[in-house]
Subunit: 333 residues, 2 copies
């Protein structure tokens, strides 16, 4: 590999000059610039990003920490982050946290040891305090899908409460009044908020909340099945079911079918997220869209602004949108 010094020698200039044309400085004679560029060509010179990093103490890399890689949700997030950042010639180092505190902390240490200029994180286990500490004392961060007090401008997230509200409101508008709910784990913020929205919609419609129509899952497909069976066993009839994400909705749907129910006539089911498979299930799943791609883009933009001196427009709170498909239907009184 050719170095800047060899280029300088061949072009008959000093290495400072080479460095200048390399960094697009205007203060360099056109003649010399041409010579240097030709020398670069001939030597097939490529700057060493490592050496540059050592000199500038910047790596042009941002660490990304997500819960999983093999899910449509995080796939979209990654895709958005990667392409936004790469447009700005930054790159992405990926790690996985598995929703586990130790793993998440490990990943953060790993990324910091790699001298990332910033971190984009989607974490569940890690505390707000920990996040604030990282941002204050270690490296700037952006948090996806979570509100951290004191870090508002660095957090991009969905209005989960409103999403929960929309889902239930939709069922109410269809005439349902006995509405069951399979929520996410109560220790998860987004799950709590979606549930709160659900309850607000019920309250506004004058429908009393019933513990019997409630089941707490952990966002897994299996929980949809377990949840539906449990709810059914309580002998309190319902004609519609809200699920806190699409996986559980899908689990509930297969379970319902296995039980001989005729969907959506016997039971309206609504999900949350609009995962890729939402329109693969049968009947196609009505759900609430989580605009994760845009959120990833905004998170990346925040970093671009905060760390790399750009000034892009960023939006931090996203509005969920109802996607009507065929898994919900009018309640026939």
């Amino acid at each position: 590999m050719a170095t800047i010094y060899q280029v300088a020698e061949r072009a008959g200039v000093s290495l400072s000059t080479v460095s200048r044309v390399l960094n697009g400085r205007k203060t360099v004679n056109e003649n010399l610039r041409a010579k240097v560029e030709q020398a670069m060509q001939e030597l097939n010179y490529r700057p060493s990003s490592v050496a540059r990093s050592l000199a500038t103490s910047r790596t042009d890399s941002v660490g990304v920490l997500v819960s999983e890689l093999n899910s449509p949700f995080f796939g979209d997030l990654m895709q958005a982050v990667e392409s936004t950042l790469r447009e700005a010639d930054k790159h992405v180092i990926i790690t996985v946290g598995h929703n586990n505190l130790e793993t998440e902390k490990d990943a953060v240490e790993f990324l910091i040891s790699r001298n990332c200029d910033a971190l984009i994180m989607h974490v569940e286990a890690m505390s707000d305090d920990y996040l604030r500490d990282i941002n204050a004392n270690r490296v700037p961060i952006s948090v996806v899908n979570r509100q951290v007090e004191g870090l508002e401008s660095a957090c991009v997230c969905l209005d989960n409460e409103r999403g929960g509200y929309l889902a239930t409101q939709h069922l109410i508008e269809l005439g349902h009044t006995n509405i069951a709910c399979i929520s996410g784990p109560s220790k998860a913020r987004d799950a709590r908020l979606r549930l709160a929205g659900h309850r607000r919609a019920l309250a506004e419609a004058g429908i009393p909340w019933s513990e019997q129509l409630y089941y707490e899952g952990r966002y897994q497909e299996e929980d949809g099945k377990q949840g539906l069976q449990t709810l059914l066993s309580r002998n309190k009839p319902f004609t519609a079911l809200v699920c806190a994400n699409d996986w559980m909705a899908s689990g509930a749907m297969s379970c319902a079918r296995d039980l001989g129910m005729n969907l959506p006539y016997d039971l309206s089911i609504i999900g949350f997220d609009d995962a890729v498979f939402a329109h693969h299930v049968y009947p196609r799943l009505t759900t609430v869209k989580n605009p994760i791609y845009q959120m990833g883009e905004m998170s990346a933009r925040h970093i671009l602004n905060a760390v790399y001196g750009q000034s892009l427009a960023v939006k931090t709170l996203f509005d969920p949108k109802l996607i009507m498909r065929e898994s919900t239907i009018f309640h026939k009184a």
Copy 2:
């Protein structure tokens, strides 16, 4: 950030000694080692990976180039590669090629400019020559899901021909003799191989190949729909349909349903890949499993061996497996 020099000063030794304990060299006095380690503790010292890279000309990073990020297939691949590599304290830099030659080349240049020690690639557009050139003159690579002549040991892939064979054989065993086929794009190697397997199964069973029962798609969901409609319009009856991937199978299924067909009784459909949504569609999709997770792991292992001096077991050719679900059924004569 504390440097190695400050640690040396505090411990009252030279920086060579610090460097030695840092790298676990045995040739250092226990007393000094203790002093140094304490000094590191007190200063909360973290070695700079950048400086180390400059000195060793290794970055402990491997570049990964995949076609997309937001697909279950690549999600699994990434997950496998990341976790395998991180166990060995290497990290992963991700880029996306979008099945487009220019983008793929760009991504490779980008990764190389980042001084990756090696590349793991899943590319479609790039030529074999180009791949060989990268490996020979630039940086060691491993190729996923593709056979490159001369690079055999660096290629880990599925036996696509056998996969295609298995799918069709399964339908034949169910008694079907009129079997339509929606293949992938003929410019894609894996598509050609799957098709070859399909034809071999037909031939072995004495079923003549018919151009009328063949449609070439591009692996998109929409192609499943287009394909089925086209095939149906040709007035040559068939009772089973082979699709070269799950997306097209899913598209064909919804199309069939929209056309009023009763699945799987009116038409048996089989897919390929066993994507996550394969068991979400209704009826649950019979398909051929593509063990992408293991393939990713093996690809990472190959790099670990070739570049980082490890000696892990690697397997390069993977056997597809038939996953029987409910979308295929006996042909009633």
